[in-house]
């Protein structure tokens, strides 16, 4: 019997999140994919999910999911899982779904695997690939019977199209309890940034501690601007308050897979490498020739990024003119 894999599809401004659709496509390759979509826009989104792999979509169009964090989703998922017992709940590792996964695992004693980059079912059951530190790849499984949760690293899977597929829609007959409406959103503010969004950019120029001081990050921004790319940062300089969290590339920040990634003054902590290792071409500039970043670089430059960056920006402007 084919495995049934559930995917919770997150909504962003009334549209399905790309990260959810990537995971849905993977689920459809593993077995029978079923999506759950919750929120005011759920009913409009549900019929579009067949083309991304869903055979069936469970829908609850209720604004409570948009107004209160975490608990309404956990409550409905928990209720559904107990009734249907899917083989697996596969979630994109986003801010919101990490919070959901932790609570759900506790509530229903479910297996929990985080940071997966691939997964498959074989004769023995589920096998999940998780990179560990910089040097190991581990294969893990859920120890207990019953449905388990896997959180997949963003961009682990490409978007898949199933043009011919039409999903069967099931409207859920559930109500979000008052007890689940406790983490209330008062205000959401979007901060517009210039240039392409970091996670979608074809070129990413990132800076780290090796830039010396916060003001020098402008050198990274200038190079990003001439290359039509987006600037990014390491956790170290975000922690140091040089830049807001939205710039962070890494395991907890954003995962990027651009055609070109230029790492400036970045040593290459595992946390950072996890977020950019999938880039097609990597150029690294660092003073320390032993920096771990160089083992991931197609072109490694031992030198001072602060001195090289303005020269490089000038040189690229000249060649593009």
């Amino acid at each position: 019997m084919a495995n049934t894999i559930w995917v919770l599809v997150e909504l962003e401004e009334g549209k399905p999140a790309r990260s959810s659709l990537e995971v849905l496509g993977k689920a459809a390759k593993l077995g029978r994919a079923e999506a759950i979509v919750l929120g005011a826009a759920a009913a409009e989104v549900a019929p579009t999910l067949g083309q991304y792999g869903a055979e069936k979509v469970y829908v609850h169009a209720d604004a409570a999911y948009d107004q209160y964090l975490t608990l309404p989703v956990v409550e409905t998922l928990s209720h559904l899982i107990q009734h249907h017992q899917p083989s697996l709940l596969l979630l994109a590792s986003t801010y919101a779904l990490r919070d959901v996964a932790a609570r759900l695992s506790v509530r229903d004693s479910m297996g929990l695997i985080t940071d997966a980059t691939d997964l498959a079912f074989d004769a023995e059951g589920l096998k999940v690939i998780v990179p560990w530190g910089g040097e190991n790849i581990v294969t893990v499984t859920h120890p207990s019977q019953g449905p388990g949760i896997v959180l997949a690293r963003p961009k682990a899977f490409p978007l898949e199209r199933y043009e011919e597929r039409t999903a069967k829609i099931e409207r859920l007959d559930v109500a979000v309890s008052a007890g689940a409406q406790t983490i209330r959103i008062l205000e959401t503010v979007e901060v517009q940034s210039e240039g392409p969004a970091l996670e979608d950019a074809n070129v990413v120029i990132s800076g780290g501690r090796g830039l010396g001081k916060a003001e020098n990050f402008s050198l990274v921004k200038e190079l990003a601007s001439v290359l039509g790319g987006a600037p990014g940062a390491t956790r170290a300089i975000v922690d140091a308050g040089w830049l807001p969290y939205s710039y962070q590339v890494g395991q907890t920040g954003k995962t990027v897979k651009p055609t070109l990634y230029i790492a400036c003054g970045i040593s290459g902590a595992i946390q950072h490498l996890a977020g950019m290792k999938g880039s097609k071409y990597i150029v690294a500039i660092n003073k320390d020739e032993h920096a771990p970043i160089f083992s991931s670089a197609d072109l490694g430059v031992v030198g001072d990024a602060v001195a090289i960056l303005p020269e490089l920006t000038k040189e690229i402007k000249r060649r593009k003119a």
């Binding site: 910089g134 040097e135 503010v189 901060v191 290359l227 070109l260 946390q271 083992s295 040189e315």
Partner: protein, 261 residues
């Protein structure tokens, strides 16, 4: 108010490349320099600031792990926490995030914690599962990715980081609040703080003290099972150059060769 901060000791991220022992399938700890998680430094600062703003409040540092964790806990006391509790028990070895949360939640319940601070994720595991799991074990709200926190009566209001900006969110207390890394400037312990830390109450608890069945924690209670450990695939070695004043030209040549300009 009774405020708690859950802290973790991790391999120093600045000096260590963590590896797994192929036999025990656990983190290799020998020969590794262990420190208070750098993310926790900022979280402790947030908790201290709130305690001092509220007044008439106590800040307790809580952790789980082997006796070596005492050192990280002493640092939190030197920074300004009022007392520390360490849960240590041989049966806890190999605990995953859920097992850890089960143990911490048992202490928090026993103590009647009203506000619980955690870092959004640890600097070694990065899974970020512990805070949400603690909140679920206690049946209370979790407010995650906070950059700012205010307590108004029996409510906590946070400004949280989201991928496209920020959000203001509130819940009633008790609640778990996770602090996004770097949101608060770390407090460096003074000599007076370090000396004073030695006199602050420090208690140790075992699983029996908490009435927790050892089968629910440690390796036995883990929600994932490691099957095999392999080596990560290395990227093919690239070209290395040393800047002799022509690095900018050489990088531009590279970009042009691969049609990246």
């Amino acid at each position: 108010m009774k405020i708690f901060i859950c802290i973790k000791q991790v391999p120093d991220p600045n000096t260590t490349i963590s590896t797994l022992d192929p036999t025990t399938k656990r983190l290799v700890r020998s020969g590794v320099s262990l420190v208070l998680d750098p993310g926790d430094e900022s979280t402790i600062a947030a908790a201290i600031k709130l305690r001092d703003t509220l007044g008439n409040s106590e800040l307790v540092a809580l952790s789980m792990g082997p006796a070596s964790v005492q050192e990280a806990m002493r640092r939190s006391l030197a920074m300004g926490a009022d007392r520390a509790i360490l849960v240590t028990d041989p049966a806890l070895a190999g605990s995953d995030a859920i097992g850890t949360a089960r143990v911490l939640a048992a202490v928090l319940k026993q103590e009647g914690a009203e506000l619980i601070f955690c870092s959004t994720e640890s600097t070694d595991g990065y899974t970020g599962m512990v805070p949400g799991a603690i909140a679920e074990f206690l049946g209370i709200a979790q407010l995650t990715f906070a950059r700012e926190i205010k307590v108004e009566g029996q409510k906590a209001v946070i400004k949280r980081v989201i991928p496209k900006g920020y959000q203001t969110v509130e819940s009633t207390l008790p609640a778990v609040v996770t602090i996004a890394s770097g949101s608060f400037d770390a407090i460096y312990p003074t000599m007076k703080g370090i000396m004073g830390a030695k006199k602050k109450p420090f208690s140790q608890l075992s699983l029996a003290d908490l009435g927790i069945d050892p089968a629910l924690v440690g390796e036995a209670g883990a929600r994932e099972r490691v099957l095999t450990i392999g080596a990560a695939e290395a990227r093919a070695a690239g070209q290395m150059i040393r800047d002799d004043g022509t690095a900018a030209q050489q990088i531009a040549d590279f970009l042009q060769r691969y049609q990246l300009l």
